[in-house]
Amino acid sequence: MRAAKYLVMVMALCWALPSFAQVPYERLLNSDAEPQNWLMYGGNYGSQRFSGLKQITPQNAANLRVAWVYQMRGGGVMESSPLIVDGIMYVTEPPSNVTALDARTGKPLWHYVPQVPRDFVPVGLFPTNRGVAILGDKLYLATIDDHLIALDAKSGVVRWNSLVADKADGYAITQAPLAINGKIVVGVGGGEAGAHGFLSCFDANTGKLLWQTYTVPRSASDPGADTWADGSWSNGGGTTWNTGSYDPELNLIYWGTGNPVPDWNGEGRMGDNLFTCSLIALDADTGKMKWYFQFSPHETHDWDSSEPPILFNASIDGKPRKLVALANRNAFYYVLDRTTGQFLTGVPFAKQTWAKGLDAKGRPIKRPAAEIEPSVQGTLVYPTLTGAINWTSPCYSPITGLFYVNARDGGAYYIKGERKFEKGNSNGVVGGGGGGSRPGPADETTTSIRALNATTGEKKWEYKMVGDSWTGTLVTAGGLVFSADAAGNFFALNADTGEPLWHLLLGSSVRSNPVSYSVDGKQYVVDSAGNSVFAFALP
């Protein structure tokens, strides 16, 4: 009898510890069926950042409390969007470290630190990391010095390590990779250094490169080369520095591309500069481009189109359509047909002064160059260089049909850089956290959570904040939107109305995307502020 009691106790202890389960592709494919987990960067393949959990609601959100806090080991800016898999959280720390935590307590289970050269200074970006991917029994980490590393999810042991790019060419990676069927897709950053953008796809088991597709021509005969005057495609650009989305039915990968090079002087690269500042759709098996849509032809303000593309289905004119929506750094919200790339809708979602509007094909009708092009003394243009949105994620709720975005309203004086470009350098006009601009007039840049009708872009409500917030959004089936203001107030809003329901000051700015998960029937919402990960739950 006593032995049986001990056995029960031991078994209870075993059950109490997190288990490390396999995550086959089928689980990723059906991630919405297990809302207790957060299996990929964007929550699901559509990057909707929608949690199906309903325990926390508008009625009880005011009771949210801090459940636990994990303080990271080193310094730097924490921008990680963690994965949660069957009670284990995988969070990344600057520059490229991974920590596995017990998602109930925040207690670390293992920690992995790759060998990153200490003297490596990436050009044009902060050395941080935004998350990992999982497939089978492995985690996939892209490091700041351009390695893709497969780790054993149970132990953090390295299974393979492949080079994605050469950091000497200006490449650096901060994004979470995307895991699909047997493959790991990863992009690169480094646009200010003249890195030549591409997407690479690796065999998930072996680390062997399966395909690589460049986003900017590398020879005069490449597609798009005729959109760069005088062979200026050789400058590079069109980096792929934020995680994209995937439609398993169409077998298409959707990924945003960054600025042409040099950023703030387009005189030496006349033309549309394909395929920069675009959304590209690639065949997942071959990497072949199925279609592209260029949001900002011949871009000169560093308004990358690297924002997460959100996939959703809706009826337009009575017909069901497969859609992709993107809130662009250039301050326009776009809806495209994701099968063909056809432009359907485009409206401003934040203050902008650079375009009169979009034409029937979605191409911007720019204001006169004298009013909008960067100049030596500075030209005041809205939005700011960091854009109406930057890398942080919007979200979409299939329940409300709304697209929730943290939108920035503000302008900057854009300063013209050199026409000539040297590889490995920024173009001389980059300041801390950005460049090519100095702050606009004394009125402060502000940010607001805006709820848009996902198919039309029409604003349903907005929640104005004080300061320049850099936090993504999360929407839940419980009817809540989570985000944070610039000072670090993490808050919950009613997803239908925008009514504020709860907030807590975390003491430092929140520069990451919130996620939600549950363990043992308890729903948590998690985000990081300063050097810490905070998990919130009801008492």
């Binding site: 970006l125 030596v376 490995g424 006009v429 004394a442 320049d468 917030s469 610039a486 000051l505």
Partner: protein, 282 residues
């Protein structure tokens, strides 16, 4: 124990509702530190004229917004002679890592940063440091007679509402002083207390009225979506939950510091000369 708790609660009540005096905070970026000049082996010594021209171009695009195209300082410090104070390595470090309100420059490679250092080194040579024409000794009398010490401290003496001025002569040019003293609200120093504001104007004057009729005007010390903290001209702090407030009026271009445009030209020259002489321990 209970008494202690009551005292704490009473103190908190006093702090939140009645305001309290506080220690002065340095509101300007920390003054330059003394640094030995980098000797042999400084990469800046190996720069070519083309490199320095490149550095000038970068400076014009990135640095001039705060330091002026000639480096004589506007919102940021006057950089003439900065090499003697910080050394090449010190200048490099400030550009790379930032200091005070100045953000770190993440996006230039080392060679570009050294080119900027190379240009900054030439500033003392290419343009003479502006010299104030008044008499600093007489200017000290003007400073004292006009009550400046009510709000500003020099070498430990004076109030804490405005910035300490121990080393203000290092970081601000006479030209700036003339402009600022005549119209203090026009060109306020950047906000260093709220980094997320990205260098927006500091010392913003805000007027609030609470729902129960309390009327407070002061400098914004802190503000987020839910709360605002003001400091009035007496140095008292007021912390409000915005749900308590009936109105919040922000008044950019105004400040609690009065204009001294009514000073005689001689007094102004002397005051500027005094402020320019405040360079701390040399």
């Amino acid at each position: 124990m209970i008494l202690a708790r009551m005292l704490c609660a009473a103190s908190l009540f006093y702090v939140l509702l009645l305001g309290f005096a506080r220690d002065p905070l340095p509101a300007f970026p920390q003054g330059p530190q003394n640094g030995a000049k980098e000797g042999q082996g400084s990469p800046a010594d190996k720069l070519t004229p083309a490199d320095i021209a490149q550095g000038k171009q970068i400076f014009a695009a990135q640095c001039a917004g705060c330091h002026g195209f000639d480096g004589s300082g506007q919102l940021g410090p006057n950089l003439h002679g900065v090499e003697a104070r910080r050394g090449d390595a010190g200048i490099f470090s400030v550009i790379r890592n930032g200091t005070g309100a100045m953000p770190p420059v993440m996006s230039l490679n080392d060679q570009r940063v050294w080119q900027v250092v190379g240009f900054v080194r030439t500033l003392g040579e290419s343009a003479p440091v502006e010299v104030a024409k008044g008499d600093p000794t007489k200017g000290k009398t003007v400073y004292e007679a006009n009550g400046c010490a009510t709000c500003h401290a020099i070498n430990g003496q004076g109030g804490g509402v405005g910035p300490q001025l121990n080393t203000i002569g290092r970081s601000r040019s006479p030209k700036y002083f003339y402009s600022f003293l005549r119209d203090p609200g026009k060109n306020p120093p950047p906000d260093t207390s709220l980094p997320e504001r990205g260098g927006s104007a500091g010392y913003l004057l805000v007027h609030v009225v609470t729902k129960d009729g309390q009327d407070v005007t002061g400098i914004r010390v802190n503000e987020d979506t839910y709360t605002i903290v003001l400091r009035d001209v007496g140095g008292h702090f007021y912390s409000f939950d915005k749900t308590e407030l009936k109105t919040i009026e922000r008044e950019p271009g105004k400040t609690v510091m009065p204009s001294y445009g009514n000073l005689s030209a001689t007094d102004m020259d002397n005051l500027v000369a005094y402020l320019s002489s405040l360079k701390g321990a040399q």
